[in-house]
């Protein structure tokens, strides 16, 4: 298995290299000069030229590319053109914010989506099944903007249950250590703050979870339906096993692999940052970070941001693949 992981990680190198190159070329193909954008409309030509020189944009593209690549190989993700800070330092708080939200959202999506899918398949063609699947259909096509604002209106304004935006109560801010606030508050023993952090996670978490939840529910249902027709399900029932355990033990374990694949993909997508959700809920995550970078033509941030996100995406898929082996002994990695 170690050699399998090694091989997968080796395969990762050309993929990431290729991606760095494509992103590098693509963002340079978008019109707009970073120096001009950073300096604003008032800037003089000299200022733009000076900025270009500092940013290294006066050099041929291949020199820029190899410089960037050389930096990457030494673990240097470059420096933001706009804030002049190392991308590696800047990116972590954003990534942490996104990770916290994404994990929370995927947790909601898994708990609700998987169970809804299982129960739907168990009671196929029942009212529960119909309603759940209609909701799932609505869920995948739900406009997040609308859902988010509706959630804020209902839960924050009408009922005053939850906060509208942000990660924490700004009047009592969390002292960021790891930037994963759930962990930070626990480390510091601030359970009152932990509670606030969780409250702030709920609305954006649900908004972000909606689509994955619907996709997971549908995938679980169809996978379960297929498994429920299997002979070993009949065997389990013929033993006198309760339907609940037949469904949750025998059927679900067999149905879980395609569901896991979907969860992995969705997780990867969520970790890439959800610009809409992060915008509506003022979540300082990686999606907005990269999006802003694109608007500012902050090349190093765009490149390294995408690189980091892609790396995480691939790693999650690797983890999912390894999980297959844990679940199903027929799958061997060597």
């Amino acid at each position: 298995m170690l050699s399998y992981v090694g091989r997968r990680l080796l395969q990762l190198i050309p993929v990431l290299l290729g991606m760095v190159f494509i992103v590098f070329m693509m963002i340079r193909a978008i019109p707009g000069n970073p120096a001009q954008i950073i300096l604003g409309q008032q800037a003089t030509a000299e200022a733009v030229a000076a900025m270009n020189a500092r940013l290294g944009l006066d050099q041929p593209w291949y020199i820029q590319f190899f410089k960037y690549l050389g930096g990457i190989l030494q673990g240097d993700l470059g420096e933001s053109m706009r804030t002049r800070l190392p991308v590696a330092d800047e990116i972590w708080p954003h990534l942490a914010a996104t990770m916290e939200l994404a994990f929370f959202a995927i947790l909601i999506a898994i708990v609700i989506g998987v169970n809804a899918g299982i129960v739907s398949a168990w009671f196929q063609n029942s009212w529960f099944d119909y309603i759940a699947m209609i909701l799932a259909l609505v869920g995948v096509s739900m406009p997040i903007f609308w859902l988010g604002l509706l959630g804020q209106w209902a839960f924050a304004i009408e009922f005053s249950w939850l906060p509208t935006t942000g990660r924490e109560q700004v009047r009592d801010p969390v002292n960021a250590i790891t930037h994963l606030y759930v962990i930070d508050t626990i480390i510091q023993g601030r359970f009152d703050q932990l509670w606030q952090v969780i409250r702030h996670l709920i609305l954006p978490g649900i908004a972000l979870a909606t689509i994955p939840m619907a996709i997971i529910a549908r995938m679980t249902r169809s996978s379960m339906l297929e498994v429920m027709r299997s002979d070993y399900i009949r065997t389990a029932r013929a033993k006198g096993q309760k339907m609940f355990w037949v469904v949750y033990k025998h059927a679900f374990k067999n149905a879980v692999i395609p569901v896991l694949t979907i969860i992995g993909l969705q997780m990867g997508m969520l970790l890439g940052g959800a610009i809409l959700t992060e915008t509506i809920f003022a979540w300082p995550g990686i999606g907005r970070y990269i999006y802003d970078a694109i608007n500012f033509r902050d090349y190093p941030v765009i490149q390294s941001g995408i690189l980091v996100v892609a790396f995480i995406f691939v790693m999650i898929n690797l983890i999912v693949d390894l999980l297959y082996g844990l679940i199903d002994s027929r799958i061997k990695y060597d």
């Binding site: 050699s3 090694g6 091989r7 060597d334």
Partner: protein, 337 residues
């Protein structure tokens, strides 16, 4: 029935590599077909029997070069098939057709029966459109269906009817040889009899040569002139049908025959139940591959692979029991079984 061989197979091998490790290194081979030689005379039916994993289906596919043989020669109608180019092979396939076990899986569900039957003619550039339609209708009638069936789709037919369609398709190009791979094993008993009868009728009418691959010994006996028994990629016994069933020589053949349930509660047979399972084809036993289950196993069996040798006219067996140095006492056992 002529005695000129239509098909001659010599030392045919098909090995599938087993890949493993970081760079997909080949660590071994599954010897699906391992040094098999036989012939089929024009107009006769050669039955190939054996249990799962014995290589009988692979043999059928290699003969048509649907799978490329690893080694060996195949001579069909005077032509060495193994040395033909792919294009020449494609042309030659009009003379060799296949009928498969699962007729449903082998018929394109989106095409009408008419289109399915016409396709081999188009592929081989036979006749014009009008002629082809006529021929389709003619063959539908021949296999016991009606011309109006041409407009229907495969799912509208029962299993037996689908197999008739499969047979009609095989016949469309006027082939000389038909390789039928378990053509009746998916069918109900009453339908199986219909299809077997149809195949026999067609053989007479079109002077067809059959290679009939099946695991059902009753069916094989019924339809075959000669029978070959395969075990783990090797042919262990070949004989005239009558000879093989009445006087089986190889212990495996004997066990196989005795294992078949007979639809007669009064029939008293001496059952030899061989122990154990068929070994993993990826890791076959040394020497005689059957020695792990053979009730007459000798020392030599674990070391030396027995060769298929003729014991009497047309009856060959690959077993150390029948080699000259073997004790007469053991040879006599054959009589009592």
């Amino acid at each position: 029935m002529s005695t000129t061989p239509l098909l001659k197979v010599k030392n045919l091998k098909k090995h599938f590599p087993i890949r493993k490790g970081m760079f997909g290194k080949t660590v071994g081979h599954v010897k699906a077909v391992d040094d098999v030689s036989f012939f089929v005379n024009e107009g006769e039916t050669l039955g190939i029997v054996g249990e799962s994993g014995c290589g009988k289906s692979t043999t059928g596919r290699v003969l048509m070069r649907l799978l490329e043989p690893t080694e060996g020669e195949i001579e069909f109608d005077g032509k060495a098939l193994t040395s033909l180019s792919l294009e020449e092979m494609r042309k030659t396939r009009r003379d060799i057709q296949m009928v498969f076990q699962d007729p449903y899986a082998s018929l394109n569900p989106r095409h009408t029966i008419g289109k399915i039957l016409e396709e081999p003619l188009i592929v081989h550039g036979i006749s014009d459109s009008k002629e082809r339609k006529k021929k389709v209708n003619e063959f539908l009638e021949i296999v016991g269906l009606n011309a109006y069936h041409a407009k229907r789709y495969p799912h509208q037919f029962s299993g037996g009817q689908r197999q008739r369609i499969g047979i009609a398709r095989a016949l469309m190009t006027n082939p000389k040889l038909i390789i039928a791979d378990e053509p009746v094993s998916a069918l109900d008993v009453s339908i199986q009899a219909q299809v077997l009868n149809l195949m026999q009728d067609l053989q007479k009418e079109f002077n067809l040569t059959y290679i009939f691959i099946a695991h059902d010994l009753g069916v094989v006996r019924h339809i075959s002139d000669r029978v070959a028994v395969m075990y783990l990629g090797k042919m262990v016994e070949v004989a005239d049908s009558e000879q093989l069933y009445e006087k089986p020589l190889h212990p495996y053949t004997q066990a196989l025959l005795s294992a078949v349930p007979v639809p007669d509660p009064d029939f008293q047979k001496e059952q030899i139940i061989i122990e154990g399972d068929i070994p993993n084809p990826a890791d076959p036993p040394t020497g005689c591959t059957f020695h792990t289950r053979c009730p007459f196993k000798m020392d030599i069996c674990t070391k030396v692979t027995p060769q298929l040798t003729e014991q009497s006219t047309g009856h060959s067996v690959a077993c150390h029991l029948y080699e000259s140095q073997v004790d007469n006492d053991i040879k006599q056992l054959e009589g009592s079984l």
